[in-house]
């Protein structure tokens, strides 16, 4: 097994599916010769040719519409949205059109489109590149939204996303692309969408999180362990639909929970998780469920990211409030 970074695992997933299914097409801005601005599609055009892996003109709505049209002719488009901050340009194609393909055709047509995009922050990109807009797509019925936090998960989840018959938004945290390596099998394997993963087991507190905050939460759990607290860390992996079973089972075991997201507090995912816990497991709770999030401002300029993004220390502080309630 090879030791891969998350971005290598992502490339590997696309390579696997390009090989497996001739209907898979990979396209977007600069994904061909250049291999993508983050090199996620590196080498794919060379291997599969310009017919299967190709550059498009620079226009996000056009790329989204292209994906929908290609899906209508039986292809499985894997489109790259160069940065998720450009989502607004393609919002109609994603939320307005692709999401309703099955619904508006009474289930006769489908849009097996995978929309890959780097997101999140902490890597000092220009304004409107880094952002946490996952709430905008997770709020849209008809879409599935996947956010891996490890190389192994990234490959298995991306293959599942490409095979899924529905439009799937696959968000790749920019900070995780090359932050660590992990053993990733060479062959095809899938991780089901909508299934969370317990990244660390514990009995006193559940931290429910996703994306880059999984690493921060694991750091926080270790720090809390030193103070004698046994902390469970759940990586949602798919934020729409949520894996409520795993969430509730964990809360029923630990009786205490905090939800951690990199996005602003009002952005929705953590609030959703809290609501599910309140509806389903309120009697198991020994303390209120608290959230760790970024503050409700516009995503800051590069120099301000560090003071703005939630960190392990913030998670530890909030966890202690819940543990000591």
């Amino acid at each position: 097994m090879a030791q891969l970074t998350m971005i290598q695992a992502i490339t590997d997933a696309m390579r696997t599916e390009l090989k497996n299914d001739e209907n898979v097409l990979v396209f977007g801005e600069d994904v061909g010769k250049n291999g993508g601005v983050f090199r996620a599609t590196e080498g794919l055009q060379k291997e599969f040719g310009e017919e299967r892996v190709f550059d498009t003109p620079l226009a996000e709505s056009g790329i989204g519409g292209l994906a929908i049209g290609l899906a209508l002719t039986g292809y499985r488009p894997v489109m790259e949205l160069q940065f998720f901050g450009f989502l607004f340009e393609v919002m109609d194609s994603v939320n307005g059109q692709a999401a309703r393909m099955s619904f508006r055709s009474a289930g006769k047509l489908n849009a097996p489109i995978t929309i890959r995009s780097p997101f999140g922050g902490g890597v000092a990109t220009p304004e409107m590149h880094a952002d946490s807009l996952e709430g905008l797509v997770a709020a849209q019925p008809g879409l599935k939204v996947v956010i891996p936090s490890t190389p192994y998960d990234a490959k298995g989840l991306l293959i599942s996303a490409i095979k899924d018959e529905n439009p799937v938004i696959f968000l790749e945290h920019m900070k995780l692309y090359r932050s660590f390596r992990q053993e990733v099998p060479e062959e095809e394997y899938t991780i089901p969408l909508g299934k969370a993963d317990v990244k660390r087991e514990g009995t006193d507190l559940s931290i429910i999180t996703y994306g880059a905050m999984v690493q921060e939460s694991l750091k926080a759990a270790e720090a809390l362990e030193k103070d004698g607290h046994s902390v469970e860390v759940i990586d949602l992996r798919t934020i729409q639909p949520l894996d409520v079973e795993t969430i509730i089972a964990s809360v029923e075991k630990t009786n205490r929970a905090i939800v951690v997201q990199e996005a602003q507090r009002q952005a929705g995912i953590a609030a959703n998780v809290v609501s599910e816990i309140m509806e389903r497991a309120v009697l198991s709770l020994e303390a209120p469920v608290l959230r760790v999030t970024a503050p409700d401002t516009i995503y800051p300029f590069a120099q301000g990211e560090n003071t703005w993004l939630p960190k392990a220390d913030d998670i530890v502080a909030t966890a202690k409030k819940v543990l000591e309630f």
Binding site: L25, E51, T56, P57, A59, S61, G62, G64, G65, L66, A67, I68, G69, L70, A71, L72, T73, G74, Y75, D92, S93, G96, Q97, S102, F103, R104, S105, A106, G107, K108, L109, N110, P112, P141, G142, K144, D164, E165, N166, G194, Q240, P241, L242, D243, V244, E245
Partner: protein, 371 residues
Amino acid sequence: MAAEKNKQFDPTSVLHEIEEKFEMFQILNEDGKIVNKESDPNLSDEQLTELMERMVYTRILDQRSIALNRQGRLGFYAPTAGQEASQLASHYALEKDDFILPGYRDVPQLIFHGLPLHMAFLWSRGHFLGSEIPEGLNIFPPQIIIGAQYVQAAGVALGFQKRGTKSVVMTYTGDGGTSQGDFYEGLNFAGAFRSPAIFVVQNNQFAISTPREVQTAAKTLAQKGIAAGIPSILVDGMDPLAVYAVTKDARERAVKGDGPTLIETMCYRYGPHTMAGDDPTRYRTSDIDSEWEKRDPIVRFRLYLESKNLWNEEKENEVIERAKQEIKDAIKQADQAPKQKVTDFLKIMYTGDMPYNVQEQFDIYTEKESK
């Protein structure tokens, strides 16, 4: 006064040169006479008659739809009278396997491509079964977002191209649609990939109430294709022979691999924008209306066919009676559609297994609806 600068450049003249090139293409004039014999598509007598039948049928469908809407027996309806040549003659140039991405006014083309009439009525009423497109019928439900069909058409066209299918995609928008970003993105993509797409702009003069002159500084809408490197033509959209000829030509070039075409059809809608409260007398005068009524596509085509002894009152009445009967039958059929249930909606929300939230709600509504 300062001396005039010595200029070696004149972008305005370039614009004017391009604009001047867009003359309106016509074959059949308002009196039903051929004025452009060398471009006559030479349709057979049967074809000419069939096209006329479709136009007359559609005019009746429009009148009946307006009446049914007023009686509360239809839902959303966008009148089509005045646009029959633009809609049906362009569609007449297509083949069965060609794909249509319509705007909300383009229901007649869908019907003649194979959409059962009662389904068009169900769509109008907002019943989900109106969009349950029959297997093998290459259409998409009418698009409500202005311009969205243009970018999607670029995708279908690229799909056909990649599959090596000898089919084209045709998509329609109006004059207002040419102001949308998606209009340019769709044209640019299809142009860049040289894909087999035909982009029809039905210039019916008004985007709801906004006149074309307020919509854009461009003298023609056809010239907008030039910026994307796409062959473009302005055609008399009330002349069925001209519309057919340019579309047929566009189709042939697309199938040959010569890429997309933009066709601006100059036409008029006699009715309101939709039946949902739009009052054209607020923004149009009766003088303008009657000016355009003189160019009526059905009147001129009737004159032409009568001169060839292909049409008479009896034939027209036959079509009218048939249309009325079929509309009546289709309404009856639409009336029999099952009442919509939330469980139906939840079932078609996703392809494949239901996500937990949908499944949970499905169970709740199954219980509720069983009572």
